[in-house]
Amino acid sequence: MTMDRRSFLVGAAGLGAAVAVRGLGAQQAQPNFTPMEQGAYRPVLRDPKPGATPSMSDDARDALEHRIKCQCGCILDVYTCRTTDFTCQVSPAMHRDVMRLVAGGYTAEEILAAFVATYGEVALTSPVKQGFNWAGYLAPGIAMATGGVLITMLVRKWAADARTTAAARAAGTPVPAAAGVDAEDLARLERALREDA
């Protein structure tokens, strides 16, 4: 049956048989879900500062965790991932690191720097403003500004053209003020315009 099907197929398709068969054969079942990389966690540890007190409130810490990206393969930040996804092992572990650093008296910027030192810049939800990353931040603004200037110049040029044409026309023929239309005609036109049922 399979042979029948295939030979018929190749014959009917009349395409390059090789292409068809390869197309049929090469395909395999695809994994349909990206597995989480639960091994992606790497500890971010720093000794507490001498005589350290917690550097921020819980709310501030949650806000900070919104700025750190979870490394489990999701696209969420640490706070959102750990409060949404029960199965993620990475975000709670990262959360514990954050809590330890907060208790150790580190400021938000120091904590972010510590995470970047361990994971690289991928640990941040928005890239630091330096080097090539500026291109990321500035390109849309530059594009908009350029576009704005271009359009404004274009409109000015077109406006100048329009004035020239208008002047030329004014010098030439006057606007035909409904020439050749008498009062009776105007009245019937008005009547026609008033009908729109």
Partner: protein, 176 residues
């Protein structure tokens, strides 16, 4: 096995369907050409209505309004007269006395006259659903049988509006 036979049958049927125009050649070409419908022109009257409306809602400056009106008014007038002259009172003046249409049209200039002729020509050969008729003096649409002429065959009364199905005077059906 049944699937295979069905599949082959379908494939062959499709092939016939697709290749038929090439076999038949010229005849098909004529059919296709005859079926084409020209795009409907905007009428100056409609444009004028929109101009009035835009002026009333502040979308046109007074000067532009004056200029536009001056340009479209004569055209719209010519259209109106052409319609009256043709005896079709689609959405134009209803109660106006039958004016000496041709004379007015002449006064509106050569362009208006041209339009008038064009309208009259178009009227007698246009079906509201199937467009221009190849036969210039058709009474019925050769595609759907809709009545196209301007007078009833039973009582001779003028029929207002192409595409009407019953006579407004005697009530007889105008088309099958």
């Amino acid at each position: 096995m049944l699937d295979l036979i069905l599949g082959s049958g379908l494939a062959v049927a499709a092939l016939l369907f697709v290749l038929w125009p090439l076999v038949r050649g010229g005849a098909v070409a004529h059919q296709a050409a005859a079926a084409a419908v020209p795009a409907r022109e905007a009428t100056a009257l409609e444009a004028l209505r929109e101009i009035e409306f835009d002026q009333a809602t502040g979308k046109l400056s007074p000067e532009d309004y004056a200029t536009l009106k001056a340009r479209y008014a004569p055209q719209a007038l010519a259209e109106l007269k052409a319609r009256e002259a043709a005896g079709t009172v689609a959405d134009a003046v209803g109660d106006a006395a039958p004016a000496p249409a041709a004379a007015h049209a002449m006064r509106a200039g050569d362009e208006a006259a041209e339009r008038l002729i064009a309208r009259m020509r178009q009227r007698s050969t246009t079906c509201p659903t199937h467009g221009a008729r190849p036969e210039p003096d058709a009474l019925y649409c050769s595609d759907c049988g809709t009545y196209l002429a301007s007078a009833c065959l039973h009582c001779g009364a003028p029929v207002e509006g192409t595409g009407a199905r019953f006579c407004g005077s005697c009530g007889n059906a105008l088309a099958a």
